[in-house]
Amino acid sequence: MTNTPENYINTDFGWKSWLLTLDHKRIAILYLLSISFFFFVGGFFAVLMRIELLTPQGDLVQAETYNKLFTMHGLVLIFFFLIPGIPAVLGNFLVPMMIGARDLAFPRLNLLSWYIFVTGGLFTLYAVAAGGVDTGWTFYTPYSSTYSNTHVIAVGLGAFITGFSSILTGLNFLVTIHTMRAPGLSWFRLPLFIWAQYATSLIMLLGTPVIAITILLLALERLFRIGIFDPSIGGDPVLFQHLFWFYSHPAVYIMILPAMGIISEIIACFARKRVFGYRFVAFSSLAIAILGFFVWGHHMFLSGQSVYAGLVFSILSFLVAIPSAVKVFNWTATLYKGSISLTTPMLYALGFLGLFTIGGLTGLFLASLGLDVHVHDTYFVVAHFHYIMVGGVVMAYLGGIHFWWPKIFGRMYPEFVARFAAIVVFIGFNLTFFPQFLLGYLGMPRRYHAYVEEFQVLNVMSSAGASILGFGYLLPMIYLVWSLRSGKRAGANPWDAKGLEWQTPSPPPTTNFAVTPVVTEEAYAYGEEEAAVAG
């Protein structure tokens, strides 16, 4: 084998060089490993749930166990996969490279972030091993503060600790994007992935501390019965819901904004075209981040909240949908008169467009007060958020992993198998979650271990879909790992993409750029050279 040039992977071997690295690219790989682990842990809980739900009776596991399964499924996937996922893996790897920097602003904080993440994860795994938690990932009081006798504090601590990882990542990205852009890289020349990460960082910084204090208060309530959420001693359990959702609603924008950033990059590259309405897409990211802080009460329309509060939250929830719609239209318009190739990343991105659109539209059903009365706390909600989180975020994540895989590892994955897997995921996903909309409207409540007979047919369809979806997720696991050794070696820019990250070798050297690049062209300057040559 010819000598591969020195890159961030082969520059040094050994545990210490990885576990004490300050290189943002290596830290991204550390995150890739831990995030993938939690994805499969959370997914495993889902598999068990869907098998249980094949029959109306609760016959696979006991009720307590089922309650723990759905709680842990939510907790693990939300706090340890969806929220950190794209920023920690792709963001860490790409943010410095996309802006022409050698690293993030605070490399040691970056490494600390990962250790904090792992520590939080360990607390959570401990809680799982010690018997689990059964409060639902939403921890509503007074069940979680007074009644549940499961390991609420351990898991709460896990989420609390991991929150700091999120805060530090957001802080790092914010400062990096503000202060370390290469010469010539003005704000409106930035890739939209960077705009998306920036908006995400705002939410991480402003929102995460509130869930931290909420979990802290919950722990104090459980330990010392201080009385804040306990109605029998004067507290208000609904206050918990307000504090909880003040973070947890913006948290879903932490999940989706980076995904949207990936979609912009992929569509531009594989349509060979600048994203239509660049500034509108950039500002939409900021609008979503800001508006997202004012809609939390739409989770609480039936909590005893006043009708007037409901009106305010409802109208704001409709407003926050608009920038997302604007983005979908802009991405669609980008395809117009493009030169489109259906590579694996593009398949995931186009799948995202369809599924995110459906997910977003069903959000309108929930924002609409009179209808939410009926579908709140039913499988309609479950279907809605899975369309966004799985049909949206996970598809975008997989698309991004495939898009940047050659850059990160210097290897190509097998295209045919990868496209096949993308299609399997798309089909499996729809079969799993579309029936759940119907189940919800029919009245099947969520978090039900056993259900009434008439819901069985749709549940069987959903579980069948889940098995296909699971298979679809296993495939990339296998062929991506395979490609590390046996995939075709990738050059610096196998997609002929624009963007500073593609101007480096694959895999990149530790310092990213031998010389700090100077940027003279707009983002997504596809077709420029051909035009320049022709004209």
Partner: protein
């Protein structure tokens, strides 16, 4: 198989049709936009696929006109949905006059329901066709939620306070009742049945059902047993406001604000009497938290609500 794949639950209340109408409208809007996007995406992908002759994309920056269009049109549509949903929500929230008042207590993991004439049910609710019913609900422990899909109504049931929901059944039959807020181990077993009967059958059921005491009557006994009238009477030595006719009135509190005396205020006055003191009275009422069960508080409330307003307006607390 298609009979097994219904799309709607039964429609059995005066408002369920309206909820379904909004739902169908939203499905139409969603289907339109989803199909539009899918058609455009698939169409563009096919038409502009990379092939000899289409190696280069056109350079298009954007279009302000399009941006405005696809911002303002969705905005208009969402505002229509908002107004429609809000009006439906008002209708669902504001109970009409003269409802049949049922008291509901949710507890892990059952529903206890009490009719005004004393009949009690567990996990079942028998009601007559065509008469609006209002449930006043509280929880003995954690948060639950009272959900009847066929009526398209739902409301969280909270500890230490009351929430209410109303509906008017329009079809006889048996309908599912589900708890819709996760409440612990047997959450999925906290289910029951609502029986809507023809009025004469309902009367027959009332006569046949085990009738305990009417709540108001039980409340009167409690009122006397707890000696509430030691402080609550009309006269210069009274130590608390007169309760007859108080329900539904607006009173002033010691801190200057005013409040409408509803079920929640009455309940708080019993379990935490000095939290929101009425103006002009001293903070001397002892708390009955822990001394009265939820059923008993509801019975007291039923009694207080049944007291007719006195002819002479008592001077509640000002200048005795």
């Amino acid at each position: 198989m298609w009979e097994d794949l219904p799309l709607f639950p039964e429609s059995a209340s005066s408002l369920s049709g309206e909820v379904d109408a909004l739902y169908v409208f939203l499905i139409a809007v969603s289907a339109f936009f989803a199909l539009l996007i899918c058609a455009l995406v698939v169409g563009f992908t096919f038409k502009y696929r990379r092939r000899p002759g289409n190696e280069r994309a056109s350079r298009i920056e954007g279009s302000l006109a399009l941006e405005l269009a696809w911002t303002l049109i969705p905005l208009a549509i969402t505002m229509v949905i908002f107004v429609w949903g809000a009006r439906l929500y008002f209708a669902l929230s504001l109970a009409p006059e003269d409802c049949l008042e049922i008291q509901v207590i949710g507890k892990q993991w059952m529903w206890k329901l009490q009719h005004p004439q004393g009949q009690r049910e567990i996990n079942e609710l028998h009601i007559p066709l065509g008469r609006p019913v209002r449930l006043t609900m509280t929880s003995e422990d954690v948060i639950h939620s009272f959900f009847v899909p066929a009526f398209r109504t739902k409301m969280d049931v909270l500890p230490n306070r009351y929430s209410s929901v109303w509906f008017e059944p329009t079809r006889t039959g048996r309908y599912h009742l589900f708890c819709a807020e996760y409440c612990g181990t047997k959450h999925s077993e906290m289910i029951g049945t609502v029986h809507v009967l023809e009025p004469h059958e309902y009367e027959r059921w009332l006569r046949g059902a085990v009738a305990g005491e009417a709540p108001a009557e039980a409340g009167r006994r409690l009122y006397e047993a707890q000696r509430c009238d030691t402080c609550h009477f009309a006269g210069p030595e009274a130590r608390g406001p007169v309760l007859a006719g108080l329900f539904g009135r607006r009173v002033q509190l010691a801190d200057g604000s005013t409040v409408v005396v509803d079920e929640n205020h009455l309940r708080e006055s019993i379990v935490a009497p000095n939290a929101r003191l009425t103006a002009g009275w001293q903070a001397i009422m002892p708390t009955y938290a822990g001394l009265l069960r939820e059923e008993e508080i509801l019975q007291l409330l039923a009694y207080i609500k049944s007291l007719p307003a006195p002819e002479v307006e008592p001077r509640n607390g000002d200048g005795r």
